[in-house]
Amino acid sequence: TEKIKTEMSRRYNVEKKALNLNAFHKSFAGEEMYAPLWRSNVFCKVVEVIIENIPDVQAIDLSNNKLLNVDPLNADFRRKVTDLRILYLKENRVANISYMEKLKGLNLTELNCSGNPFKDRLGSAYTDRIRSIFPNLQTLDDKPMPKKIGFDEDSSPTSNSLPVTQSKFAKSSEAEALVLQFMEQYFKLYDSDNRQPLLDAYDENAVMSMSCFGGRDSMKDYIEDSRNFLKIYHENRKVRLLQTGRLPIVSFLTKLPKSTHDPTTFTLDLSFTSSTFMMFTVTGMFKEREGSEKRVRHFNRCFLVVPRGSGFCIVNETLFITDPTSENCRKFQTTSSMESLKNASSSAQQATTSQEVDQATQRTLATAFSELTGMNLTWSAQALSENQWNYDRATTMFQQAKEAGKIPAEAFVK
């Protein structure tokens, strides 16, 4: 070992941090101890010495050593000898590029493998294969590496480029507050034993249709009235299944199995708002309260509403029911609170004149707030205005003020 160490230090150029192990065995010609590098125990010893004494070496010449492989330059070596940039392996006996692939991780800028059988074997594939192992290589076999030109095809979108699912989206946050309030009331009534009060939620001439998809047996409570165009052959039936007018609609809804919705599974997309109507879609899960099976279902419900009085009413509604996935089922809980949906950060699209809430919306909000709080319109508008027409905030402020007894009686005089 000492002899190897001595010989190595003789061959080490401290200034250049270069270790010349070219034809290492020749240093021991005629000596008692013959230490050729092609013997793996010698090679391993050499590597040990490098790691211990000169881990900052930058260039190593291993040429002319009849090497079959460079296995001793293992993971440990690569971890500890991080400054190595130049490696010469000329005139050795490495027969397959897979031996070189084991060196992946060595950040080489210059490499020389000429005179090794694997180079000829690869022919024209040689440069590319080497490049794929040592991407930062600049010089190969004493020649500069040719520039790499690729194709732009790899930029096609994958599922990694998809945006993260948001449970709530609202075109306007003022409208969002109103819609959430509507949803709370609607589902409370829908989940009760008597769905008749839902009459108030619908326009006189509203239309509504329900469709479902699932096993014949699973959907037996819904399949009769399912308005799925893909499964109906008679045109008349497609037309007939559209429930028209609020009385027929509510009587239809009353026929559907009683339910308990889980608002923690809800998503809300308020995707269109204007002075004449809003469109929003709710999806989520409910459990059937009656029947032997008491199945859990997934639903998708789209509402088109128009302003009426201080609130709004439904003019169009589609209801789609299907079986939940196992992932859906895992998330089902038996709560009825809409807190998590209310608190979900939504990608609320503020109108371009975001701080300016137009007159019509102001009137709607004030009327709704008046109904909610019992205060007269003037005070309601005032309360809202003070909270930048943020309905939720105004509600919270009102509750706090009321509890603190800070609201004068005149506020409630209509």
Binding site: S156, P157, V164, F229, K238, L304, V315, N316, T318, T322
Partner: protein, 135 residues
């Protein structure tokens, strides 16, 4: 009375026809000719993809071409209604409800539901609102 019924049936039938033709064309384009699908949207359309808003044709085009991977849709449910005049003031509009399964790239297919608001724009049906949710 009869007139109104007739009118109603006509509107209903048109909504059915429109939905059937639309869904066939839309998903074919989405899966096989994605680069032509922007023509189906209004310049002012809104797309909400799993709660992510994409506003305006330019953004929608970019989203569909750059962020949505290659898709394969199978539709198993289709429903539609004519939208009430009181909402759209005479602007002929149809509400469409689609349900099916979608596969992105080589991933396993997932169930989805989609709602569309289609409107008559110069005698061409265009998507004003596209609301997509995976189940």
């Amino acid at each position: 009375m009869v007139d109104r019924e007739e009118e109603y049936t006509e509107k209903c039938t048109r909504a059915i026809r429109t939905a059937e033709q639309f869904s066939e064309l839309f998903y074919k384009k989405l899966d096989k000719e994605r680069h032509t699908i922007d023509k189906m949207y209004l310049p002012t359309a809104t797309l909400a993809w799993n709660g992510n808003a994409v506003d305006g044709l330019d953004n929608i085009k970019r989203f569909l071409l750059d962020r949505l991977p290659k898709s394969s849709h199978t539709i198993h449910n289709l429903d539609s209604q004519p939208v009430a005049d009181s909402a759209v003031g005479g602007q002929t509009t149809v509400l469409v409800q689609v349900s099916g399964n979608v596969r992105y790239d080589a991933n396993p297919s997932v169930p989805f539901q989609q709602n569309f608001l289609l409107t008559d724009s110069d005698s061409k049906w265009k998507v004003a609102v596209d609301n997509f949710r995976t189940q």
